[in-house]
Subunit: 205 residues, 2 copies
DNA sequence: GTCTATATAACGATAGAC
DNA sequence: GTCTATCGTTATATAGAC
């Protein structure tokens, strides 16, 4: 039925918003219902309990990030272009979904075993072609000896950390909303440059 | 009394462990009592309610990080040595307090207004001497034009992100405990090098 | 100060009418 | 499918004996 799908979808949207903002423990079924503009009982009618609803949201979160990220990482393009794309991906993705990175990481830390199983089942494994590309660049003497894992974490760290620690950044630096946005826009240009000079053979300042 | 202080301290230690691991919403007063090896009523006797106890832990967390970090940042030493010290500080600090960074950042995001006030009251403001030092290095042409804020966030990001996303790093890279530790040890060497080459005038790979 | 017992409130979940 | 009313549980918090 048309109405059926609409309600189910409204619930999922609302759940996504509330769970991502508050986390599993902080989220209230009532608040999700309010956000969806429906009755609390409907949540149980469609998803039986809080756990199920949460898992839908969590899995959707994972699937929103990793396939796209890994697709970029496995592209057949020069490393330099790739880094630019990854940085751009993070900055556009999380402008629209500002709570998503913190949500995924926080909930993973709360239930490591539970999600380790899930992530491996969905086939989230380190992108093969990216690993080979880095190794090749190292072998060709284009970049310093660095593992693909370290290379990736450098990029991800530079992009995600100031998103996750948004409140702290704004507080300590006394930024308002627009100053924070400028700061992040500036980073989008800065990061690829930092990353590449960081893995070059150039010595010292 | 001797016993009095002992109990109060035991509660605070237990609260620190549980709150940092589970967050405010996930923490249970009973679990804190169990961790402390005392009766649940004692928590209320000494700290009246969950909120008070939490704030003690949160404030202790803030005070454990910022004063030390900012002290290093304001030292009268060359920028290069300073970066090394900051990186070392993060890696030693959070080897002992692995949940502390996620805890502080997560709780700040949950109650921005509440903690913004607190942080400004304690006098957590961007270190003046560090800012001047960066500006001087830029002016002297030693490093590229970069704001002190961006410079700091680069370091902090590279250090903290893989600590905060520990479970995710271990899962995606399929690391066990000892592999993760090696990975982090390796970063401690890698990061200062990355940071400095990143702000150099060297062009391209 | 420390314990047991209990009050009180919040939340997830269900029953049943429509 | 959707609502109201309510159950059962769990969590914070308090009362009162010792």
């Amino acid at each position: 039925m048309k109405v059926e799908l609409e309600t189910e979808e409204k619930i999922l949207d609302a759940a996504r918003i509330i769970f991502q903002k508050r986390g599993f423990e902080g989220a209230r079924m009532q608040e999700i219902a309010d956000e969806a503009g429906i009755n609390k009982s409907m949540l149980h009618y469609y998803y039986r309990n809080k756990d199920n609803l949460f898992m839908e949201v969590f899995q959707a979160g994972i699937k929103k990030i990793f396939p796209q990220l890994f697709a970029i990482m496995n592209k057949d393009i020069p490393l330099k272009d790739k880094v630019w794309e990854i940085v751009e991906f993070y900055h556009t993705m999380f402008k629209e979904n500002s709570h998503l990175p913190m949500f995924v990481i926080h909930e993973m830390n709360q239930h490591p075993e539970r999600f380790r199983e899930f992530i491996q089942k969905v086939g989230i494994t380190f992108p093969e072609k990216f690993a080979l590309q880095i190794k090749q660049e190292v072998q060709d003497g284009n970049i310093i000896p660095i593992s693909p894992q370290q290379f990736l974490i450098n990029i991800v760290s530079m992009c995600m950390m100031p998103m996750i620690a948004r409140t702290m950044v704004m507080t300590v630096f006394q930024f308002d909303e627009s100053q924070y946005e400028s700061f992040m826009d500036e980073r989008e240009e800065l990061i690829p440059d930092m990353i590449f000079k960081g893995v070059s053979f150039f010595k010292g300042v």
